[in-house]
């Protein structure tokens, strides 16, 4: 097919759609590429195949009703989104959740980060043809889903966090389950490390492939593991601590060249850090309340609602009108698995959000995708796509 270059030259190129229905575009993404042999001469990406109107939908309900929608953003780590939104809402009310809730949130966040990274690395390995890693990484992930199921009743869309606390306290034997799952994640991760880290083919396929410079990454607005892979040491858990992350002992993992190898390895080493945070959180877990006692956020118990007029009114108002934050504009960013997950909330003082804008970490990463893959080979573009870990639910909202 004749293609006109920006300089006006007509050249013969093969135009191919990679996606939206392609084995490597996990989710529905599309990259339109012009190939010169096997080399990607030009590329353009398209988003929106999974657009469900998250931001418009959440304006229809109360603040509590936003939570189930956040599950569907990055569905690989739903709890991280729940907690991210809850933190944004709690910031509006200027409240702190109890100690146990904070520790549990850290624990659940890190477990979610672990399973998210497991998905990313496993899928990347599959895209590189190293299929076996998939099972080594997905088997422990399955055990985490077992915990989710016991904890919240749901496997994928947990909606476990609540504004001002959690859906409920943990079940009996939760600590043992978590301790066991940490062991099996570590074992699976070690297996994957052995298969990949010094594997000559893996290194050749990923090192120097689709690199990103620190300046360009910052200019694109990259965050999270992909930004850290370029060598920029930015992690909201360290730089803008929330949930008491500053009291945990962990390192941010930073790469050097920002290529596919670094992006994947940063994720793999981050999993080791997350394992350590989980173990620290497990040690800190003390019995106690998981919900704040703030009546603006938490329903009064049955004993009060049935016998106390004010409590009954409170119950009624909370259910029918929702929690009512003060009017104003609020932004809260948390370090989700893919990077900074931001919620910008505009409140008009009623029980329904006037506007919620989500800042998904994938969005900026996918924006740079065409630039990353131009000049590489077809196989590189696939390796690159899986290493920047695009989750369509979060990208398109």
């Amino acid at each position: 097919m004749k293609v006109i270059t920006p300089s006006g030259e007509k050249i013969d190129l093969l135009t191919v759609n990679i996606g939206p229905s392609h084995p490597a575009t996990h989710g529905a993404l599309r990259a339109f590429v012009a190939l010169d042999g096997e080399t990607v001469a030009a590329a353009a990406q398209e988003i929106g195949y999974l657009h469900r109107g998250f931001e418009k939908m959440v304006e229809q309900g109360t603040y509590q009703q936003v939570l189930p929608y956040t599950d569907r953003l990055n569905y690989c780590s739903a709890i991280l989104n729940n907690i991210g939104f809850c933190l944004a809402a709690e910031q509006m009310f200027e409240i702190e959740v109890p100690e146990r809730c904070q520790t549990l949130r850290v624990l659940l966040s890190e477990l979610s980060r672990l399973i998210d990274h497991l998905v990313c690395v496993a899928a990347a390995a599959v895209d590189l043809g190293a299929l076996t890693n998939y099972w080594y990484l997905f088997n422990p992930r399955e055990e985490v889903y077992g915990i989710w199921e016991k904890l919240s009743g749901a496997r994928l869309t947990n909606t476990f966090s609540r504004i001002g606390g959690l859906y409920r306290d943990t079940y009996e034997g939760f600590e043992t389950d978590v301790a066991n799952v940490l062991v099996s994640i570590e074992a699976g991760l070690d297996d994957a490390f052995k298969l990949l880290e010094h594997n000559r083919i893996f290194i050749e396929r990923t090192r120097g492939v689709c690199p990103m410079t620190p300046d360009a990454a910052v200019a694109w607005g990259w965050t999270g593991p992909c930004l850290r892979a370029t060598g920029v040491d930015r992690d909201l858990r360290k730089d803008d601590p929330y949930l008491g992350y500053d009291t945990y002992d962990f390192q941010t993992v930073v790469g050097t060249t920002g290529d596919t190898y670094d992006r994947l390895l940063v994720r793999m080493y981050e999993m080791k850090e997350s394992l350590s945070i989980c173990r620290q959180a497990l040690k800190r877990l003390r019995p106690g309340r998981v919900n704040t006692s703030d009546p603006r956020l938490i329903l009064p118990g049955h004993d009060k609602a049935y016998h106390d007029m004010e409590a009954l009114i409170n119950h009624f108002k909370l259910v029918f009108e929702g929690v009512r934050p003060p009017a104003g504009e609020f932004y809260s960013g948390t370090e989700a698995a893919n990077g900074e997950l931001g919620f910008f909330v505009v409140s008009d003082g009623t029980g329904k959000p006037w506007k919620i804008k989500v800042r998904p970490p994938c969005f900026t990463q996918f924006a740079a995708y065409a630039d990353l893959i131009e000049g590489g080979m077809v196989a590189d573009s696939i390796a690159c796509l899986s290493s920047i870990n695009i989750i369509a639910g979060e990208l398109d909202r």
Binding site: L14, V16, H22, P23, A24, L35, E38, A125, V126, D127, L128, G129, A130, L131, T132, Y134, W135, Y136, N139, L195, L196, N199, I201, F202, E204, R205, M377, V378, A379, D380, I382
Partner: protein
């Protein structure tokens, strides 16, 4: 008029050996699945069973039957944009070639039999050509036509890319493949695979004589068969499925079976050229013939031991299922009971047959026109044992193919070419040169 004397009948009977690689296909498909599940820490095929035989699953081997039925009965769709004639013809090529290529592989040692015109020598290969292994290389090089034609006829961009990759790769690796075994040809001084095996029996196995050649030959064969880590022509995550993207049902099945047949032949070739073929240390052809009863009995006893182990494992499983609270526990228990019975019965039978062989079979040479030759039944028995040896070695190499596939990631297309032309070819040339010099010095 054709005389139907013994050598001629044997010559005709040898054509049945063309089906040996075909028999490998179901075993390899099963081995791939079980091997993958073993490596990947999962169960593998465990549903398909024979309901009339107590739900017998035979470790997943039964899965092949429904797979075959599915592939045959599915609609074999031809896309509108495809070139109809070549689209239909192309998938047949690899499987046809899989019938032809084993013709030069010796499955057993040459035997002397008495014919109408005196003693005739019947070799262990179907086609006893002087060109020998060159025939095999030439034929297996043709199988790329099936891939390229299919890719082109599909008229699909991904398929075309797969076809381009396949053709470029196969052509490049033919070169290093040929050069890496050239060392063996130099040492042996013949292209005939029977001669190569006889030389290995008399001296050392090819893997000892040419270790570098073995590694390079195996690597080239991985590329030649389009197996991981060289499966860029399929590249399922990059170009979707590559050259057979538009194929469905049994036309896809033909490619699929062709690939496995290709692996079987490649493994047979490796075991013939580098692992001594039908020769085993201390079990030369004459030794087997002279002690046919003992060797055959020992072999049967070894198989019986395997059966006893399977029966033991089945019995253990049936006990486990007896205690288990699974929904199909009763059926599974019954299945493993049947397996236990089946395999212990087989073991007893084999042991009895083996002891009978060892005790009562003492072959004697007979004199035909002044020449001592072995009677036909001894020769045939030896041939069967040697066929078993070749098959065992081939299975081992096949397992290496499976093992590598589930361990390594895929190369990138340009890296495959780089490895072929810049590394393998150079090493093969140096290896050939050194071998030539050494061979000259040693042989004079």
């Amino acid at each position: 008029m054709i005389e139907f004397d013994l050598p001629f009948i044997l010559q005709c009977a040898k054509f049945l050996l063309a089906f040996v690689p075909l028999c490998f296909i179901p075993i390899l498909i099963w081995g791939e699945r079980r091997g993958a599940s073993l490596i990947q820490d999962r169960l593998g095929p465990n549903r398909a069973n024979i309901p009339l035989l107590g739900g017998l699953r035979l470790f997943g081997l039964v899965q092949n039957a429904p797979d075959g039925i599915k592939l045959f009965t599915k609609e074999s769709f031809i896309p509108k944009h495809a070139h109809k004639f070549w689209y239909i013809v192309a998938p047949m090529i690899p499987l046809c070639i899989a019938f032809l290529t084993p013709s030069v592989i010796p499955w057993f040692a040459p035997m002397a039999v008495e014919g109408a015109k005196g003693i005739a020598n019947v070799s262990g290969q179907i086609l006893d050509a002087d060109a020998g292994v060159l025939v095999l290389f030439a034929l297996s090089g043709l199988s790329v036509y099936g891939v390229v034609l299919g890719a082109w006829a599909s008229n699909s961009k991904y398929a075309l890319m797969g076809g381009m990759r396949a053709s470029a790769m196969m052509i490049s690796y033919e070169v290093s493949m040929g050069l890496s075994v050239a060392g063996i040809f130099l040492i042996v001084g013949s292209f005939s695979l029977t001669n190569i095996v006889e030389w290995q029996a008399a001296h050392v196995w090819g893997i000892v004589a040419q270790p570098l050649g073995f590694v390079m030959f195996l690597t080239s064969l991985f590329a030649e068969t389009g197996r991981a880590p060289f499966d860029v022509a399929e590249g399922d995550s990059e170009i979707v499925a590559g050259y057979f993207l538009e194929y469905s049902a049994i036309r896809f099945g033909l490619y699929y079976m062709g690939e496995y047949a290709h692996i079987a032949i490649a493994s047979a070739l490796v075991s013939t050229v580098f692992l001594g073929g039908y020769h085993m240390p201390w079990l030369g052809t004459e030794v087997i013939r002279a002690n046919l009863g003992l060797v055959g009995g020992g072999l049967l006893a070894a198989i019986a031991l395997l059966c006893i182990w399977i029966a033991y494992a089945s019995n253990r499983w049936s006990n486990i299922y007896a205690k288990m609270n699974a929904t199909d526990a009763a059926q599974r228990k019954l299945e493993y009971r049947v397996m236990t019975g089946l395999f212990s019965g087989l073991a007893v039978l084999l042991l009895v047959a083996g002891s009978a062989l060892a005790l009562f079979v003492h072959p004697q040479q007979v004199s035909v026109g002044g020449t001592e030759i072995w009677p036909l039944w001894v020769n045939l028995g030896t041939a069967a044992i040697q066929l078993g040896i070749v098959v065992a070695k081939t299975l081992f190499i096949c397992w290496v193919f499976i093992w590598v596939r589930w361990t390594l990631p895929r190369f990138r297309y340009d890296q495959v070419m780089g490895l072929g032309w810049k590394i393998l070819l150079n090493i093969a040339l140096v290896n050939l040169l050194v071998t030539a010099v050494v061979a000259k010095l040693v042989k004079g």
